[in-house]
């Protein structure tokens, strides 16, 4: 009861409200003249005393910070050309997109409205159904549509997709690269062609038939150097698929027939990079730049390019050694025996799977459920 009598003390608030309401009634449209702040300028008289108390003296800033004021228009000091380009109506498509060979989705166009059409063409009858309309897919299926992402758009690396692992085969390819580089040198077009893409379809046998003579690190080619150089510099892109399949046995035979002196050819920088590039193109083995600088002869390049074969897994080693071959009660698994494997071995997994499927739960993993959020909280990720 006592509280209601005390309500009367809020006199100042009650004074302010009727004045605003009266002002609002006098205006023609409240919404048109509406300010952002709802406090009227007359109200500032009432709030001055509390601002003075708060700031202990003269209060800084405007009395009503929420009332919008007209800002002076920002003057740009940009040149006129720049201002022109920022105007709407100009094509702002990036140049890379504009010049792309890809079939990109067209710009959005709007059909003329029905009224406009009827104004220009009185015989226009709006369609009642979608018959005869061309079907275009949505943007999300753009790249799946035929002609938009064909084989020509697939990435084809410079290096061979099939990586050569065997050292012998690698050596044969290196020899080919050396012969080709020497042939280009003898033809006098090496400096021109060192940075270009050499034709891949050159005959392997032709290159390998040539003899390399080494004297004090200088190599000379004996054989049909001009034919090799011509095959390399020909523009014909014919033999894409002529993958030079050299088996390990063939490679070994070839290596026996060669004198090992060709590996002592001294390398200068252009030859070094040319060999590296050619080797990458033929075998897919890329020698890192940092290591390439250390290679002074062909032998070094071979050392850098050849890698040790992948070490065998423990299970493969055991199988090779026949370690447990005579123990029938020992089983060697080639991968870890996980909880699912254990359940499969006792036959419970099919039951678990069936029950999970029955409840629409993911069989493995968490499905759509997010990861454990509490763990992120604990580790401070969120």
């Amino acid at each position: 009861m006592a509280r209601i009598t005390r309500m009367r003390r809020l006199q100042s608030l009650q004074l302010a409200i009727p004045s605003q309401c009266a002002a609002a009634a006098a205006r023609p449209s409240f919404a048109a003249a509406r300010a952002i702040s709802t406090s009227s300028p007359a109200q500032s008289k009432n709030t001055d005393w509390i601002r003075g108390k708060l700031w202990k003296g003269e209060a800084p800033g405007p009395a009503d910070p929420y009332t919008q004021r007209m800002e002076p228009e920002a003057q740009s000091n940009l040149p006129e050309e720049a201002l022109d380009s920022s105007r709407p109506g100009r094509d702002k498509t990036p140049a890379a997109v504009r010049e792309s060979r890809l079939a990109l989705p067209g710009r959005r166009t709007e059909a003329a409205a029905e009224k406009e059409l009827q104004a220009s063409d009185p015989t226009y009858v709006p369609a009642a159904d979608a018959e005869g309309l061309e079907e275009v897919g949505t943007l999300s299926t753009w790249w799946e549509q035929p002609g938009h992402w064909g084989e020509e758009s697939e990435f084809k690396g410079f290096g061979s997709a099939v990586k050569v692992v065997d050292k012998e085969v690698l050596e044969v390819h290196l020899r080919r690269a050396v012969v080709e580089a020497l042939a280009l040198k003898q033809a006098g077009v090496f400096s021109e062609w060192a940075t270009k893409k050499w034709s891949e379809g050159g005959e392997l046998d032709e290159a390998l038939a040539a003899q390399v003579e080494v004297q004090d690190g200088k190599a000379t080619l004996k054989g049909d150097a001009s034919a090799i150089a011509e095959a390399l510099t020909s523009e014909v892109e014919e033999a894409e698929s002529s993958a030079t399949g050299v088996t390990v046995e063939e490679a070994r035979e070839m290596l026996k027939s060669w004198d090992s002196s060709w590996k002592n050819i001294a390398l200068d920088n252009p030859l070094r990079f040319a060999l590296r590039k050619r080797l990458y193109q033929l075998t897919g083995v890329l020698i890192p730049d940092a290591k390439l600088a250390a290679a002074n002869t062909i032998k070094h390049i071979l050392t850098l390019a050849a890698r040790d074969p992948k070490p065998l897994k423990l299970a493969q080693v055991l199988e090779k050694r026949n370690a447990f071959g005579d123990l029938a009660n020992v089983t060697v698994h080639e991968r870890r025996v996980g909880p699912i494997d254990k359940e499969v071995a006792v036959g419970r997994w099919k039951v678990i799977e069936e029950e999970l499927k029955k409840r629409d739960l993911p069989v493995t993993g968490y499905g759509d459920a997010p990861r454990n959020k509490e763990r992120d909280w604990l580790t401070g990720k969120i």
């Binding site: 071959g325 005579d326 029938a328 359940e343 071995a345 006792v346 036959g347 997994w349 099919k350």
Partner: protein, 387 residues
């Protein structure tokens, strides 16, 4: 440990013969496409099968692991070695011994036949041993003694001590070294043999004396009924499944290695277990039974005499009573009252009569099948029953 070479073994149980074995009435439809062994594929059908098999969906999974996988199972090899089985028994047969009819109903691939063969061998050897070792055991006690040696619960214990483990759910992908069984509803007990009584509808106890149990009922004296297939509980089904493994292994030994090996195996794994038959007895009227025994055997009627007593007026009196027939003392018992002591003395006398044993080195009839056996001397076998 030596390597087991399954290629050397010749398994007659493994090779399914074409058109042999299953009668047409029992052949389910799935038998036609069920080929676990390469030798069982009919050559004539292959051409017709090939054309359809390319388009047809993959066959349904087998109810139990294929025998082809048996040589790869470490568990199976370990079990084979642990049991010291002969190399004549292939791992595939051992794998088949682990497939119960509840997992795979096809009799060509489960252990039902082996288990029945094995159960007859076990029961035969246990029976002859019991009868020769304790020739005066009453029939009811004999049944229970047989059950204690060769019943499903005992065989389950044996199988578990062998290290046989059950698969959680039988299936094709399961390790063949695990016991394949499940507690299903369509369970057929096909290892029982007996007669169905015509008056079975009148109740279990109707005209079911011991003599008719010997003639009509199963090996353990249990009634065989077909009209009301008994609903076994989980534990009973489990012990039956585990027991069938032991029986099937013994059946396999008999099949591959012969009679003597099977007998030796039964002796070392089943008869070697200790059983105290005196604990099987339960007497209703021991004094009367003893009196009838003395009358039957022509002894003087038994007389109970108080031999000593202490604390007759105390809270815990002890009376020692001896039963005498003439001048011979038949037994002695102590009790808190004169009557209890007399009954105990009669029970002791009766057990002394029933548990007579000619000794541990008792000859059994199957010993005569050995080469160069000594001539048979018939053992004394009592008629057993008194009341």
């Amino acid at each position: 440990m030596k390597r087991i070479r399954p290629s050397r073994w010749s398994g007659q149980l493994l090779q399914a013969r074409r058109g042999a074995g299953i009668p047409a009435a029992r052949t389910p439809l799935c038998l036609a496409i069920r080929c676990q062994s390469t030798s069982s594929v009919p050559a004539s059908d292959s051409s017709t099968l090939d054309s359809s098999s390319s388009a047809s969906p993959p066959p349904p999974p087998l109810p139990a692991p294929s025998f082809d996988r048996a040589p790869q199972s470490a568990k199976l090899a370990a079990l084979h070695a642990r049991l010291s089985l002969s190399k004549k028994i292939p791992l595939q047969t051992l794998a088949r011994a682990l497939v119960t009819p509840s997992a795979d109903a096809n009799p060509n691939f489960n252990n039902a036949n082996l288990a029945y063969l094995g159960s007859t061998i076990i029961n035969f050897h246990v029976y002859e041993y019991l009868v020769c070792k304790w020739p005066r055991l009453p029939m009811a006690i004999l049944y229970e003694a047989l059950r204690a040696y060769a019943g499903d619960e005992s065989l389950q214990q044996i199988a578990r001590r062998w290290g046989v483990e059950a698969a959680a759910a039988p299936g094709e992908e399961v390790d063949p070294g695990l016991l394949q069984w499940k507690a299903g509803e369509g369970h057929v007990v096909n290892t029982r043999w007996g007669y169905i009584r015509s008056e079975a509808a009148k109740g279990k106890a109707w005209r079911r004396g011991l003599s008719s149990r010997v003639v009509l009922d199963s090996d353990f004296g249990d009634q065989v009924s077909s009209s009301d297939p008994e609903r076994l509980e989980y534990n009973a089904l489990q012990s039956e499944a585990f027991g069938s493994v032991v029986q099937a292994v013994i059946g396999a030994i008999y099949t591959h290695c012969g009679r003597d090996e099977a007998k030796a195996f039964v002796k070392s794994h089943i008869l070697s277990r200790e059983l105290d038959p005196s604990k099987l007895f339960q007497f209703k009227l021991p004094t009367r039974e003893l009196a009838m025994l003395c009358a039957r055997e022509g002894f003087e009627p038994p007389i109970a005499r108080l031999e000593s007593e202490t604390g007759r007026l105390s809270r815990t009196p002890v009376y020692v009573v001896g039963i005498y027939s003439g001048k011979e003392k038949l037994g002695e018992g102590a009790g808190a009252s004169l009557d209890v002591a007399r009954r105990k003395a009669s029970m002791a006398s009766l057990k002394a009569w029933y548990l007579y044993s000619p000794g541990n080195k008792v000859r059994v009839p199957s010993d005569m099948m050995e080469q160069g056996a000594k001539p048979w001397t018939a053992p004394h076998i009592d008629i057993g029953e008194i009341i």
